[in-house]
Symmetry: C2
């Protein structure tokens, strides 16, 4: 994670959302597949010694939020980015010691519309999908609706 | 929380799902409105000094899970209870220092069908709604689909 933007995002998480640090959530990388964050199984395990659903949801929520921070950064301070709703499917239990979630980039036309609305109206919404891979396919599929409100 | 069942549920959480302890999640009470759990804002705050969505989701997820533990207890050990999917709406930011979530009891006919399926098929599903109250109405509405699989 040598990218200064990702280092800054990690510092933001550590400073502003303490439970992410307790969960061991780390910004991992960004590439054409999207932003990836990871956390260890150990502190996030459940009664079955697989990953706790609440931790998986938090990891997906924050990976999407981080994606919004990077996207809206030139237009809006981080304070104005919130999640309004989400849905999640837990398709298989996760047993790997390190768990990674990747938030796919939104389609270009959706991003264009989002940035246009943010500039014109000072407020815009974007739907993002975050996936945690499993043994045979996705283990977790998360859809989140994020809203950005720029300061007046 | 003098009820021995609730004390046992708290011990189960503390022992089996360590991040719940890190979040300060406590079993609060049970009455005709359902099972209530709570957590402090402080460790669960976000960049806006309101409650982090990931923590709110975890609180709702585990309050529903606790409801399932109490419901399925006579039929099934806790190990077989998992969440399959959920959806959540964050309707207003939460600023109170202590945050409470209540999982409403499922309708009697749904519970009857659930217990019947669990006895007959060894597997059953139940939909539960958990709400975190806000200033003017619900601040968070969470719907979870939980599955119980009894041992063969």
């Amino acid at each position: 994670m040598a990218d200064p933007l990702l280092i800054e995002l990690q510092q933001l998480l550590d400073r502003e959302i303490p439970i992410c640090q307790a969960m061991g959530i780390q910004v991992h990388s960004i590439d054409e597949n999207g932003l990836t964050m990871q956390m260890p199984l150990d502190i996030n395990r459940n009664h079955q010694r697989t990953a706790f659903a609440g931790s998986l949801n938090a990891l997906c929520t924050i990976t999407g939020w981080g994606t919004m921070v990077l996207l809206a950064r030139p237009k809006c301070p981080t304070g104005g980015i919130v999640i309004r709703r989400s849905s999640i499917r837990y398709l298989e239990p996760i047993e790997s010691s390190s768990i990674r979630a990747t938030c796919a980039p939104a389609p270009i036309d959706a991003v264009d519309y989002f940035l246009e609305m943010l500039c014109e109206k000072g407020q815009a919404k974007l739907e993002l999908r975050t996936v945690i891979p499993g043994q045979k396919g996705p283990a977790v599929i998360f859809n989140g609706s994020y809203v950005v409100i720029s300061p007046k």
